[in-house]
């Protein structure tokens, strides 16, 4: 790989500079080393290392008994993962792109999500479904979707999304350890972002949101690919004398709105940003809940910034479709002008 790995844990160094994709790779390695029941499965995850190279080298190091290059069949991948989990294994399934999770939608929503409930708790479903998601890479149709709401809407699933390499490293391990199925959304356009990772640090809890930039004027809620965007917007706003507090949700279900509410009580203003269309998106949920709990602190209506009510457009138009720092700042202007 091309990222600089300054050292490997075990040689005494625990810190290295890694990309987000490398961080997931290291996280998967750690999980596989710790627990022999962890399996990696999906299309092209073996010799090729996945189309985004996230599973690079795993087949070589763990064997193709634990890293399964599966037939090209998403329903098959998730459906057999359900069976493997019933037999005590902990499969981590890779969907090649967000738009290709839908052949597996039935298995994820009707089977994986409900097996624990159906068996009165006798069967847990420690299955992770990894999905590279979101836009911004100039891809063709079905390669840039934001399917999070479909999954977050289904009780029985946990849905999380890291926004940086450090979270990615820890969150994938926590997802593998979860006794419940986790839909793990990887912001694909940030696969190559780098950060300093300390593998000896104490991980932050999987289902906690986090203030990633403190501020005083407006609370901005984001997750996955919109977090780096919100941080950029906060930089620009700072230059204009406006202080944005950015909260990274990290977990979409369960949703941890504690830090958001606390922040809104101080700022009185909230903007929620995601790439999925705003209609019935995560932002709608956040806005409704904050309206319930922080009604008397709010100085302005909660605004949502998101994708548009159109099918994900051709790549030459995706920058128009995707919310960017400008669109976020426009919403910030509007909540501040109220």
């Amino acid at each position: 790989m091309t990222d600089d790995v300054h050292g490997t844990p075990g040689e005494g160094r625990t810190t290295q500079r890694v990309t987000l994709s490398r961080a997931i790779n290291l996280g998967l390695r750690a999980a596989m080393e710790k627990e022999p029941k962890v399996l990696v499965m999906g299309e092209d995850v073996g010799a090729l290392g996945g189309v985004f190279r996230v599973t690079e080298g795993l087949a070589k190091d763990f064997g193709d008994d634990r890293v399964l290059d599966t037939p090209l069949a998403e329903s098959g991948i998730v459906g057999t993962a359900v069976g493997l989990a019933l037999r005590g294994y902990r499969p981590v399934c890779e969907m090649q792109f967000d738009g290709f999770v839908f052949p597996a939608f039935d298995q994820i929503t009707t089977q994986l999500a409900k097996m624990t409930h159906r068996t009165r708790g006798a069967a847990s479903m420690p299955v992770v479904v990894r999905i590279p998601f979101g836009g911004g890479i100039g891809a063709v149709e079905h390669h840039s979707e934001s399917p999070e709401t479909y999954f977050a809407h289904t009780t029985g699933l946990r849905v999380v999304s890291p926004s940086n390499p450090v979270d990615a490293y820890w969150m994938i391990q926590q997802a593998v350890e979860s006794p419940d199925p986790v839909v793990f959304l990887e912001p694909k356009r940030h696969y190559w972002d780098k950060a300093e990772l300390d593998t000896a640090a104490t991980p932050y809890p999987l289902h906690r949101s986090r203030v990633v930039r403190p501020g005083t004027d407006v609370t901005v809620v984001a997750y996955g690919p919109t977090v780096p965007m919100a941080l950029r917007a906060a930089d620009v706003a700072a230059g204009e004398g406006r202080s944005l507090e950015v909260v990274d949700l990290r977990s979409l279900t369960p949703l941890d709105l504690g830090p958001v509410e606390e922040s809104v009580r101080r700022t009185g203003r909230l903007v929620v940003a995601h790439e999925a269309p705003t209609f019935l998106g995560l932002g709608a949920e956040v806005a409704a809940r904050v309206a319930e709990t922080c009604f008397f602190s709010l100085e302005a209506p909660v605004l949502r910034v998101g994708g548009l009510a159109v099918p994900y457009p051709v790549s030459r138009l995706e920058e128009e479709y995707l919310p960017d720092a400008d669109r976020l700042l426009d919403a910030v202007d509007r909540v501040l002008d109220t």
Partner: protein
Amino acid sequence: MTSSTHPASTGSSATPSTATVQMLTPDGERLDLDEGRRAELEQAVGAEALAHAAALTADDLLGMYRDMALARRVDTEATALQRQGELGLWASLLGQEAAQVGSARAAAPQDRLFPTYREHAVALVRGVDPAHVLSLFRGVDRGGWDAEATGVSPYTLVIGSQTLHATGYAMGVQRDGAVGTGDPARDTAVLAYFGDGASSQGDVHEAFVFAATYQAPVVFVCQNNQWAISVPAERQARVPIARRAAGFGFPGVRVDGNDVVACYAVVRAAADRARAGEGPTLVEAFTYRMGAHTTSDDPGRYRPSVEVEQWRDRDPLARLEAHLRRHHGVGDDAFAEVAREGDALAARLRRDVLGMREPGHGEMFEHAYAAPHAHVEADRRWYEEYVAGLEHGGAAADGEERA
């Protein structure tokens, strides 16, 4: 790795129990049919297929050569355009020209074809302007050719989904009484293209079930190019894909996919069957993807180069060229003429691609629904106002300062 047991590395002899229909040898010789071989082929594809092959004139064959050569030239140009940053992605058809041209030429004008994302030669044969195909890969529109006029549906990217659409379309054809009338201008077949990888999808199996149950007039054309990105064909199927058809209750035939005559003859016979109301057929064109999966793929990571070299010896164009030269007296001039035509097409294509209009942002709001929809209209209004606001003073935060 798995390549040592891969059928491609040992040739079709690795699957002795499934006869592979071949009519031209890799050297360009017409296969002499002794009694035994003829009987075997008749058993596999019916006497009609052999008759179709025999009926091909030198002009027909040269026409096929021209289609394959133009498709290859388009492919080379598109690959170059992608490398130069003019296309976002390209899925090369190199090596699959015979399977595509042979099958597409077997279709009647009224037949409907359902491609995936690599059937550029099929599109070309049916009169789709290659610039329309490239517009999709440039990211300026979704393809945009006239499916009714060309009989070619839009490309699909979700693997296998179009096989069900093809089957449903064929069921519609049946309901319209456009099968089994004996009128060659009316009876209609449907061709569903998919890959060896796609053969694993539930949708494809469900398409087989529906097609068999309703005896729909559909020909399933599986281009087994040996690889689904990095996964070899035997990781999708333990028996030759053609043999799967038997379990669904319709015939399956494996044909040498680098032999355009055999592809034409077999698909023609299958389409004739479909049009006559005799139901579906699965044709597995045994071929090879010579290039990368797409321009984003690196086959060096998973595929031995010796395998590619072996398949180079079975090149579909070289085979037909040798045959035309040796047995039909076609000389240098004719081939040079095709090459000139290819260069002109490539030059025109390049101009068209470079001159393609960038889509206006308003276009993304078009056609999300057939009738007006309040959410779309609301977002369109909001976006128009937002853009107008930006033009009056706002500036990009990602890059420049805001005003």
